[in-house]
């Protein structure tokens, strides 16, 4: 078990002929992800090292039975690509594209809700179930199969955290990069519940950052619904107010969305927060009684 992706994932890559799309498609395939097809309007009939390319997602679904899509198209076209996937019957969409307008995401959310489709991202590094499937741009060599479920708003910070987990002997069930945008797909609460329900996951790592109040809501959710141990880390403890720290969603506005508030919210419900990245595996091991 694991969450969201596994050996049964059949992946279609939207934007497969672009520079990033083609590069990462081959990386995903090399890792063992079942990449069944790609989509690039006007390039139907071609192939990428044997992966068939179609003009529309509908054809890709009908002919290759894709059930999951990953999107590498330029940000202005991303919302349309997500909706095309949902319309074609894809059940899980992962959008890597960075810089999608927020109002596009609001419209997409409303559309996906009607279709019952799950979205991860946009502006995310993707997700991985080690030894089964990697979807996105994650550097696969740092991951190791195991029992820790991880979710994060950040990319490279996740890599740092995962490599610390792995080097401390803590493998992962599934790691999900939820993205750094203010309006994104699956978020902490949904993923916490999935990890809670996943028999293979024994503990959960949540990596948040400044901006919004999703971490505070996650803390509330953990208090009421999660029985497995959770450890958190919050980036941006020293970020100034009113400055967007790279991610569109990472901004402290009028004193709310600070790391301090988020850390306090977690600690109030008994979720320890690592102050330094290197502390996180130590805390986690204690909670999992591995020491």
């Amino acid at each position: 078990m694991s969450i969201l992706v596994n050996k049964d994932t059949k992946l279609v890559v939207q934007g497969i002929t672009g520079r990033d799309g083609s590069f990462h498609t081959l990386k995903m395939k090399a890792y063992g992800t079942n990449v069944v097809s790609g989509v690039s309007p006007g390039k139907g009939g071609q192939n990428l090292e044997g992966i068939p390319i179609f003009n529309t997602v509908e054809e890709a679904v009908n002919l290759t039975h894709a059930n999951t899509s990953v999107i590498f198209v330029p940000a202005p076209l991303a919302a349309d690509a997500i909706m095309e996937a949902a319309e074609a019957g894809i059940k899980l969409v992962i959008c890597i594209s960075e810089g999608v307008p927020t109002l596009d995401m609001v419209k997409v959310t409303s559309y996906l809700n009607k279709k019952g489709v799950k979205l991860i991202g946009a502006n995310c590094p993707g997700l991985i179930t080690p030894d089964e499937a990697m979807i996105g741009i994650l550097p696969v060599n740092i991951f190791k199969k195991g029992n820790v479920g991880l979710m994060s708003r950040s990319g490279t910070l996740t890599y740092l955290m995962v490599s610390l987990l792995t080097s401390n002997g803590l493998g992962q069930s599934t790691c999900v990069g939820i993205g750094g945008d203010p309006v994104a797909g699956l978020y902490y609460q949904e993923l916490l519940q999935m990890f809670e329900d996943d028999p293979e996951t024994e503990a959960i790592v949540l990596i948040g950052e400044i901006g919004g109040d999703a971490e505070e809501r996650a803390a509330e959710y953990i208090k009421n619904h999660i029985t497995k141990p959770v450890v958190a880390f919050i980036a941006g403890q020293t970020a100034p107010q009113g400055k967007r720290m790279g991610h569109a969603g990472a901004i402290i506005t009028s004193g709310s969305g600070t790391a301090e508030e988020k850390i306090a919210a977690f600690e109030a419900v008994g979720v320890p927060v690592a102050r330094l990245p290197v502390d996180l595996p130590v805390i986690l091991k204690k909670l999992m009684k591995l020491d």
Binding site: A75, P101, S154, G155, L160, K243, H247, L276
Partner: protein, 379 residues
């Protein structure tokens, strides 16, 4: 992207939302002329991109031309929370009977557009939200349908009892929603929205923020951008694929990824140091990006030590190392550099810089402590 009040008022007019007349002035002389032309009570308002202008003395009523000039002389050149006042708005000071707040924003949790209104206008809405959250009415708007008449009426009846005022407010709310959607705003506020002594509903002040990710399709909005000195540097960096924010410390940071860049700043602070900046060199970093980043860091005179923290994913550590070596050959770098490289092609990266006698460390904590130690040596 934020815009000034005078620009927000122009947008209101463009959408036929009633606003009192005003004139933008850069000198006391211009203010004198404007006040003379109005020939009645005016309000002189500092135009800076920061809240709390009134409290800081940046907004003054003037009954006469002389008072307007005195106010202008006081306000022009004033420093409001680090922002220098370079222009003021001279506006018709309409008689106000009552003040309200209305605004539209994006709610991250419900992932929808949220319409907000309050009878507590004219004060900072964040304070109302903290002290009396029940005083703010909130209605989510379905973007497929837009703001419906009944939703606008529902809010309007909560604010006003007179049907004449309700009708005016409904029109304003619907126009405000249109403005929000058509311009890819992330926040649009009328604060205060007022009833005048002539029973007109008018916007007296406006605050607007727009989605940076949507500026590619909002050329007219982008043209309103008036960046300050720090922001100009940030925009120049952005054109080179770098996200840069100046801070007040002395350890210059170069990191790949926003989350890791924030965590790097945090770790430096944790060990007692002070980061000079947030600098994310982004994903696929070519050697040139690293050269540009080095130039940027060296242009900040406060930087005493440079700390490079790279976790290679898409970013290749050998690319970073090549860029760094090129930068060191091109420019005279006299300050110490601490480097931490791991991930994709880290070994090759470390080999490339091995001839340059630069200290490399294994962990982020070590890198921060070493940077702080070197910084203290310089001081």
């Amino acid at each position: 992207m934020k815009i000034h009040e005078y620009q927000a008022r122009q947008l209101f007019r463009q959408y036929a939302i009633p606003v009192p007349d005003d004139v933008l002035c850069y000198t006391a002389g211009e203010v004198e002329k404007a006040a003379r032309d109005f020939n009645r009570m005016v309000v002189v308002k500092a135009q800076v991109l920061v809240g709390g202008r009134g409290k800081a003395g940046g907004v003054k009523l003037a009954k006469t031309v002389d008072e307007a000039v005195i106010a202008a002389n006081k306000i022009l050149g004033m420093d409001i929370k680090g922002f220098k006042v370079e222009k003021v708005l001279v506006a018709d000071a309409v008689e106000i009977n009552k003040e309200f707040y209305v605004g539209l924003t994006i709610d991250r949790n419900t992932k929808s557009v949220l319409f907000m209104a309050s009878t507590e206008g004219g004060v900072e809405i964040e304070e109302v939200a903290k002290e009396n959250p029940a005083a703010i009415l909130k209605i989510p708007i379905d973007t497929d349908l837009g703001m419906t008449d009944f939703q606008a009426r529902k809010i309007a009846f909560k604010l006003f009892s007179d049907i004449n005022l309700v009708k005016q407010a409904v029109e304003i709310f619907k126009k405000l929603y249109k403005l929000f959607i058509e311009n890819d705003a992330s926040l649009v506020e009328i604060n205060p929205l007022v009833i005048t002594d002539k029973n007109r509903v008018m916007a007296i002040d406006g605050k607007m923020t727009f989605d940076d990710n949507a500026l590619f399709r909002q050329i007219d909005i982008e043209a309103l951008n008036e960046p300050d000195e720090d922001e100009k540097k940030e925009i120049a960096a952005k054109d080179k694929g770098l996200t840069y924010i100046r801070l007040d410390g002395n350890i210059g940071c170069m990191v790949n990824g926003a989350g890791l860049a924030m965590a790097t700043m945090d770790v430096i602070k944790y060990f007692g140091g002070n980061p000079a900046n947030f600098l994310d060199i982004g994903g696929s970093s070519s050697p040139q990006k690293v050269v540009d980043a080095m130039n940027l860091l060296m242009s900040d005179k406060h930087v005493k030590v440079i700390m490079i923290n790279i976790f290679g994913g898409i970013t290749r550590c050998d690319d970073v190392a090549r860029g760094l070596v090129t930068a060191l050959d091109q420019m005279k770098v006299t300050i110490p550099i601490v480097i931490r490289l791991s991930g994709t092609n880290a070994e090759e990266g470390l080999r490339i810089i091995s001839d340059y006698n630069l200290p490399t460390v294994n962990s982020l904590s070590e890198a921060a402590q070493e940077a702080i130690r070197l910084c203290n040596l310089v001081n």
